[in-house]
């Protein structure tokens, strides 16, 4: 025997919702906020992940970064990367000599200084490097030339400028052959780097000066570090497949060089892009899940709001329920009508919340110069979840309605 068709039940359910537009709207508001919050948090989290991925990939491919690490002090506090001075030229040489599959080994020291030229001045970072730095960091020369080992050995004061520095000092003019002063010392400009643009963190990657390692160590950084100390050694693996083995080899070579006994803490660390990427992605991912979970709590609050109003509706419409039963509605028809009413309320809130969440995320992305990530799966998930919230929190009120005794219900005022 056929009962009421699903379309009719949907019609009854939506009829009741439309009959009280304000009340229905307010009831949905909890779900609106919940879904909007979840969507926004997820989208922002994904945007952050994308940005980090982009910026780390921008560091160069197959890159391994070796940096000093202060060993654990007796108190157990660990120094951050770059805080020590454990790396030296000897490490660079050892890596060059002993690690197979290292296509480029580039030691570097970094200092900041004011640069003046022809009356203009500019603050930038001076990086002391060897010629191999270009290959390790995927840099190119736009004009002029890179300095050679010979320049370095002779302690020549030559500089290769990032495009930003050129623009700041001379505008459009050709800087090759011009003189600049860094911390008062005269340098000759011999080359200009190709532009790498902004990193996705918004840092200008063209705002730097490269100069021979020895020159920077003695002239710019001076007595603050030991004469043979290097801050970071960039090692480029010949291929992605060799990345892991090269990293392991570097570890063992530097450990041997530093005479670190098995079981002792390293005073340096090696990181490859993949592991950095993975670690940051994992951290952001966990943070996103946390935020989304907090946001999901408001979805539950929204569900409780729906349950509350549905319980009120069942009480208010007891007579209607009794009448429908008297006219032949089966218990499951009544159950479906009220459960659907809750689902429609929640789904409606979910749709609005989804729109607000996406708009909000896009707005934040626009204001914060942040990549907008639209997780396509978020749409069915958000709508599925809001339906589920409606179903879960509508189930009890609907069950109460279906369980009513028709005579009692009809008699109710």
């Amino acid at each position: 025997m056929s009962g009421a068709s699903p379309t009719e039940i949907v019609r009854f359910a939506s009829g009741a919702i439309i009959a009280h537009p304000l009340r229905s709207g307010l009831t949905s508001l909890g779900v609106v906020i919940g879904v909007a919050a979840v969507v926004m948090m997820t989208s922002i989290g994904l945007g952050a992940q994308k940005r980090v991925t982009d910026s780390i990939s921008g560091l160069g491919s197959n890159l391994i970064i070796v940096s000093p690490l202060q060993p654990r002090t007796p108190g157990g506090v660990m120094g951050g990367a770059g805080s020590g001075q454990s790396l030296t030229d000897a490490d660079t040489e050892a890596i060059q000599r002993q690690v197979e599959g290292a296509a480029a080994v580039a030691p570097s020291v970094t200092g900041g200084a004011q640069v003046t030229a022809d009356g203009a001045n500019w603050n930038t970072s001076i990086i002391g490097v060897t010629p191999e730095y270009l290959e390790a960091r995927d840099l190119t020369i736009a004009s002029g030339r890179m300095f050679e080992d010979r320049d370095a050995r002779q302690g020549r004061k030559v500089a290769v400028l990032g495009p930003t520095v050129v623009t700041q000092l001379w505008g459009d003019a050709d800087p090759i052959g011009k003189r600049i002063r860094i911390r008062g010392a005269p340098f000759e400009v011999i080359g200009v780097l190709g532009s790498k643009g902004q990193s996705s963190f918004g840092r200008d990657q063209d705002d730097l000066i490269l100069s021979p390692l020895e020159t920077v160590r003695s002239r710019i950084i001076g007595r603050r570090i030991k004469a043979d100390s290097v801050q970071t050694i960039y090692v480029k693996a010949a291929s992605e497949g060799e990345l892991a083995s090269v990293q392991e080899d570097i570890d063992s070579v530097v450990r041997a060089e530093h005479k670190i006994q098995p079981g002792e803490e390293d005073d340096f660390q090696t990181q490859n892009l993949a592991s950095i990427l993975e670690a940051s992605k994992a951290a952001i991912g966990a943070f996103t899940v946390l935020l989304a979970a907090i946001a999901a709590v408001s979805l539950v609050v929204g569900g409780v709001g729906i349950m509350n109003i549905m319980l009120v509706a069942v009480t208010e419409r007891t007579r209607e329920i009794g009448l429908r039963m008297a006219l032949g509605a089966r218990r499951k028809d009544v159950l479906a009508q009220f459960a659907l009413e809750a689902v429609v309320l929640s789904l409606f809130g979910g749709l609005i919340g989804l729109a607000i969440g996406l708009l909000g995320a896009a707005g934040i992305a626009a204001i914060g110069d942040w990549p907008f990530a639209l997780p396509t799966w978020a749409i069915p998930v958000a709508l599925g979840f809001s339906s589920l919230v409606g179903l879960v929190f509508g189930a009890y009120p609907a069950w109460r309605a279906a369980r009513l005794d028709p005579i009692e219900a009809l008699r109710r005022e």
Binding site: A4, L323, R324, L327, G328, D333, L410
Partner: protein
């Protein structure tokens, strides 16, 4: 059509039990017109509710066309109410948000009738009770008599075998009440079995069979 044997309904309220029906036996044949009378609290409504499948007896048998209604499941009872029974209540019991037409359609929604067929039948029924021009009106835009006629049209929607009316004129003035009763009479003449609970002696006399109740028992069962 209907056989009732030793039908008993008791309500347990804490310590005491109320016997609303106390061993009622009677049978109703197709096409009968019956008036049920009796003082307040004598069990008239209780009997009507059981006859209509809204309530179950505590004891006794209720056979409808040979089926034991007391053994019906909840769903079977719902379908029984939907197909076999037409109810008319004292307080009309129309859904305020629905138009007269939609109210009449309601039983047909639960019987699964196609929307078009349903609408046509509802319109035809409203036509028959003299409300052809009021189909789009909501209950609060109709007089009491008109509302009760909508309710009667609704009770006829699925061509029931039995029409049950519990004090259908109780909320109407006497002139309107007479009109409504005339409608029942007409329906009965067309072959519908009609059972009406009433306090009105005149109505009772007009029926072809009169059953009187007192304290849950039948005290009089006469054909006039």
């Amino acid at each position: 059509m209907i056989q009732i044997e030793d039908l008993t309904k008791t309500y347990v309220m804490g310590e005491e039990t109320v016997t609303a029906l106390d061993g009622v036996s009677l049978s109703i044949a197709r096409g009968e017109s019956i008036a049920i009378i009796g003082p307040s609290g004598s069990g008239k409504s209780t009997l009507m509710n059981i006859l209509g499948g809204l309530d179950r007896p505590s004891r006794g048998r209720y056979r409808f066309e040979g089926d034991e209604v007391a053994h019906f499941s909840d769903d079977q009872l719902a379908d029984f109410r939907n197909r076999r029974i037409g109810f008319v209540f004292q307080s009309f019991q129309l859904l305020p948000r629905l138009s007269a037409l939609q109210n009449v359609e309601l039983p047909m929604v639960y019987s699964g009738a196609a929307p078009r067929a349903r609408r046509e039948r509802a319109a035809e029924l409203l036509e028959r009770v003299g409300l052809g021009s009021r189909m789009g009106h909501r209950p609060n835009q109709l007089s009491g008599g008109q509302q009760q006629r909508v309710a009667i049209a609704r009770s006829l929607a699925n061509q029931p075998d039995l029409l049950l009316a519990d004090e259908p004129t109780g909320a109407l003035d006497s002139a309107t009440g007479i009109e409504v009763l005339a409608l029942f009479q007409k329906l009965n003449l067309e072959g519908l079995t009609v059972v009406i609970v009433t306090h009105d002696r005149g109505v009772a006399d007009a029926a072809r069979r009169r059953i009187a109740f007192r304290d849950g028992r039948v005290t009089e069962d006469v054909r006039t």
